[in-house]
Symmetry: C2
Subunit: 408 residues, 2 copies
């Protein structure tokens, strides 16, 4: 099918040609509302006019940046990678990825479950809402998706095919290279100019050559470590949940990259939220919950990943009989430690870039009181710097929490 940009009317007629969608809605009349407030794509909520509980989400990429307009070209191919990643992650972690009703790479479109009873994790955390299943669910998601797309599980041929499917997600990888690892630490037109101007903190960060040299190491690792299929943008805005269910959404940045990047993104965003509560709400109980959540996610991830690996007899990396069990055990432990370390390094970059870079996070950039905001930014940078400077010496998860707690 040839690509065609849909609107609130044509989306309905398009859906009528899709069996899976029609099976879902039956003979109901449909209506569509544009609900997207994202930067990139058009998002429609399509629902039954007779039973509003029956609803699906339609997401279509257009060949430009939606929030700017047609003059800012951005390949709609990003949806190709989102579709591939959603399908792959759904097959690996079925309960943690929304139901897919229809995808078309030609049309750059995906039709999926409407998460009407779920909210964005970032908002929930900022409102000091605790989620009893978050650590359990997200650690499963991380362990399953990272392990089962890695050379510790796949054979060489399948691994290379996987790399092939995502290797050309060049535009979005480049966004990360630029915005997470480069521009936010130097004078650059894309930065938050109002904030950078006459700001001593920015001056210090931009001149911090030790920090920036280590960021360069992490950037190189990001660009040249095809460990596993990663989500690529797993901040707390990419998770929708309620007390029972957790869903990971929006994997358009997916590619075969370093093990630690998604884990680091999560740690970074939880730590940013911790800073928010330190400065704004001073809610010590919730801060403790955030630290506990980081710890649980990392520990559960480690044990689940190890569990999957222990029962895996053959893979691209290891074949049965190559080493004895004791050595294999030691090797796996060491491997996991290095994943956690690398995650902390990436977490540092993911935090630091939110301060002066183009894309802030609500918990920090959204703080209205200027003095408080500056204090929060200073705290974010302090933690981020410690993460980046010390990540490869981290021996235990508690050291990560210590860095977050002791920053002031």
């Amino acid at each position: 099918m040839e690509y065609k940009e849909l609107d609130v009317n044509s989306v309905i007629s398009y859906l009528k040609s899709v069996d899976e969608v029609m099976n879902y809605f039956g003979s109901d009349d449909l209506k569509a509302d544009e609900i997207g407030d994202g930067n990139l794509n058009y998002v429609y909520l399509v629902s039954s006019t007779t039973d509003s509980k029956k609803a699906l989400i339609v997401k279509q990429a257009v060949p430009y940046l939606r929030c700017v307009g047609e003059e800012f070209a951005l390949g709609r191919q990003r949806m190709t990678y989102e579709i591939r990643a959603l399908s792959k992650f759904k097959s690996i972690a079925p309960n943690l990825v929304p139901e897919l009703y229809h995808v078309s790479e030609d049309m750059s479109i995906v039709v999926m479950q409407y998460l009407g009873k779920h909210i964005i994790l970032r908002g929930g955390l900022t409102d000091a809402k605790k989620y009893p299943n978050l650590s359990e669910h997200i650690s499963t998601y991380l362990a399953q998706t990272l392990f089962k797309t890695s050379s510790l599980y796949l054979d060489s041929t399948s691994k290379r095919k996987l790399i092939d499917e995502f290797n050309s997600n060049t535009e979005l990888c480049k966004l990360t290279e630029d915005f997470v690892f480069t521009f936010a630490y130097m004078e650059n037109e894309t930065n938050d100019a109002d904030n950078v101007k006459d700001n001593q903190l920015a001056k210090e960060l931009f001149a911090d050559m030790e920090f920036k040299e280590r960021v360069l190491d992490l950037k190189y690792k990001f660009m040249t470590a095809p460990d596993a299929l990663i989500h690529g943008d797993l901040h707390t805005g990419s998770i929708m949940l309620n007390e029972e269910e957790t869903y990971v959404i929006d994997p358009e940045f997916a590619f075969v990259g370093p093990f630690g990047f998604d884990i680091g993104a999560l740690v970074a965003n939880l730590a940013n939220n911790y800073v928010h509560h330190t400065i704004v709400t001073k809610d010590e109980d919730f801060k403790e919950y955030l630290l506990e959540t980081i710890k649980e996610i990392l520990e559960l991830f480690e044990s689940k990943f190890l569990q999957l690996w222990e029962v895996q007899k053959e893979s691209a990396l290891l074949i049965d009989g190559y080493i004895d069990d004791k050595t294999a055990h030691r090797y796996r432990k060491k491997f996991l430690k290095s994943i956690i370390q690398e995650s902390v390094g990436f977490a540092g970059c993911k935090m630091a870039r939110r301060v002066f870079g183009v894309a802030g996070v609500a918990e920090i950039r959204g703080i209205e009181d200027k003095k408080m905001r500056r204090d929060a930014e200073a705290l974010v940078l302090k933690i981020a710097r410690e993460f980046v400077m010390k990540y490869d010496k981290i021996e235990a998860i508690d050291e990560i929490l210590e860095i977050i707690k002791s920053a002031r």
Copy 2:
């Protein structure tokens, strides 16, 4: 053009349809001789019947292993990667790769310069022949090809395209994963059974869990480090030379892999040759030449790579203005040290696998006296083990020479 397997007759009529080849030979009558003694492909020497100095080499892959026969299937796509690598390396290091007259991925064929006045480096070294330009030429080859296909030179898009071109060279990458990093260190039917049987050295190697655990690290690095386009099989049998000229041939194992793999292959093969002379000829002067050659290649590689990098203003990794010159200098030095270290680790694997693995090297496996051969093997394994156990602690090139010299 559809693929067709050529023979000594049809190769001539095929060449008559290729303008570049006809321009070379003019109106001369041609004859073809099959000269290949390789395992994989058919190789023809096509020459003018009136002027035997006018000659070209034709190499065609067939969809099976030539040395075994049609029952051993092996995709002729390997020639696709050889063609792509030859073309790429030729464009980067024009004087160090044979002239290409014609290539066709469809026909799995390449027509290139006949190196009639050059011999295989391995043979030359075994005959204790010194080559005055070897270090200079090979270090240029390594520095140019590795730097100019890396993220230190290319932009992100070009780098990803390069990965794309070689990512599916799966079969040959798998051969390296299996034969360089796995089978040669364990009981395996592909090993040199006569040698493994009742051999204490084999028993010790196969039970050496510390060594094998570190080989596993290097295997993982081999599989997941798309640093640069590497030759992938740069032993001394892949270099043809004479006193003036040096050519690198046979890059069918090429893919975007770790910086240190080609360098390590060279070091390994020079060290194996050193062991040969230690045990067989006891030629101290030539042994000194070999050590000197290793040192020169590594030092010249380092300085040439650094030189290229220093003048490179922008790349996928680094943009102008991100860090100051002093930091950039320090970063580059550190980066180069880590390339050398990794090379030593790979060299260890490349040496060790020659002892019991399926593919031996003439200098060692070809030693006729059984006692001498065993002594040579013990020495090879001693050096290899030191390389693998210590590579990431190597601080200076002299330490590498010391490991080779002090093994006895």
